[in-house]
Symmetry: C2
Subunit: 311 residues, 2 copies
Amino acid sequence: MHVVRCKVCKEHEAILKLDTYRLNLCQGCFDDFVLRRTKKGIRDFKMFGHSERILVAVSGGKDSLGLWDVLVRLGYKADGFYIDLGIKDYSAESKRLAREYADKNGLTLHVRSVPDDFDGLGIRDIAWRTRRKPCSVCGTLKRHLMNRIALDEKYDVLATGHNLDDEVTTLFGNTLHWQVEYLGRQFPVLPAVDEGLQRKVKPLIYLGEKEMAAYVMVRGIPYIYEECPMAKGASSLFYKDVINQLEAHSPGTKLAFLKGFFDLRERFRTEQERPTLTSCTRCGTLTTTEVCAACRLKERLAPPTDAGGVD
Amino acid sequence: MHVVRCKVCKEHEAILKLDTYRLNLCQGCFDDFVLRRTKKGIRDFKMFGHSERILVAVSGGKDSLGLWDVLVRLGYKADGFYIDLGIKDYSAESKRLAREYADKNGLTLHVRSVPDDFDGLGIRDIAWRTRRKPCSVCGTLKRHLMNRIALDEKYDVLATGHNLDDEVTTLFGNTLHWQVEYLGRQFPVLPAVDEGLQRKVKPLIYLGEKEMAAYVMVRGIPYIYEECPMAKGASSLFYKDVINQLEAHSPGTKLAFLKGFFDLRERFRTEQERPTLTSCTRCGTLTTTEVCAACRLKERLAPPTDAGGVD
């Protein structure tokens, strides 16, 4: 039987083919590839140094657990942060997996719960009651809680597991609608605005979905396989499919699209990039408005007919 | 049986559904729709006036014949220009159809032939001998011949039948590869550079492929149905398919993508937009180089081993 050899070590049997790079790799060389691609991302965009305290946003999925694992192996001081979104089975299972990984590796995992903060309500109910889209509510609350914990626990950097496919998908959607404001802000490093809004980084910028799935499998890390049930029918899933067709038609398209964008991203930056930030009058988080987005959500939840509302 | 009525006149039976506009139209109202959309394009981009002499590039396909027909019906002074590219049956048939339309409507059609100008060679042979892609050679020669005839015959404007789908496809490809230079130049009107390079316009910017096919059918204009045989496998055909998926997923995407781009196109303009133009030392056409692109093609065709070369 014909055995495909690893193109790097030329010794072991290849277990994975990376189409973008026309590269067949064995388990060891693939592992090395993931570490090197992550290091390259961190270095290219000057994300952080070994002396800084990093907080990894952990969802329990392949990307965030994989990122945490890679950062720890690369010798970075990385703790985890899990947010329970109150999405029934999905949240219970993903929390269990995040906890399991932390415990097994003797790492610190901070946990915050949206229902604890919102009278027992999860994302679905909050979205329903405030008439907003679940993904929008989820984003608002995640950003809020991440900023808070980074401030409270004095972390220098917030790292998220957004991979190449995620970033290309976001860029694709923003380009298709020419969302200039979003385009101006899309970058793997967003510098700290003030001590209340820490630097945000995406170290997996050079690694795709497929690579990250293979990485956690090779490393034997159990992760939650399902997409978030609230994301069903989201345009992003449709865009991912379209982008994969473009990549199949011409391997390397994703990476070239994203890198080409970074080269000219300045063209989308606008003058009033930096709005004035003040402390939220309710919770103290830095915000551009008097009351921050999370506190405004809470206020909208207070039922007008009920005298004993949330606030 | 259930008959779908025209949404505009509410009287006649609808013959076509325009998904983008959620509009069912009868034959008469559809015809009116095409005229109005063309007028809107001409007006929005200040393309030309009724006193100007327009030269329509006619390929024999639905878009260019449809455009010519619409312009004449709108009362514009529009002559046609057909270029025989020397692509065997395809050229013979498309020339016959262009001629037929002109004769039937008593219109002036200028004809130029690439083989006449290139020792009997067609696009395929020129591409092969100069080791360039056929579509690139074709574009170079078309531009060259159009500029020449506009100069010789004193036309004010050159109009091409690029429709909404064509423009969206070009924009999509240029965006995917972030071709800043091309992006800076993509617009439905390119102003005259000098008296040797006339204004170029694309009056069908607001009309899609499907609409133009329906228009020529409704008008009973015979046109060449086949895609150019040299375009087979071109990325543009693949992109069109992808873009149609995006449009089906969210009707209106094409138009919004293109219009949104026009709004921010200035961001892609570079300083050295206007290179110095001089007359080609061989043929006199305005060019940025000493010898124009068409004459350079001719020079590259001269076989180095053959003493009696083309030049």
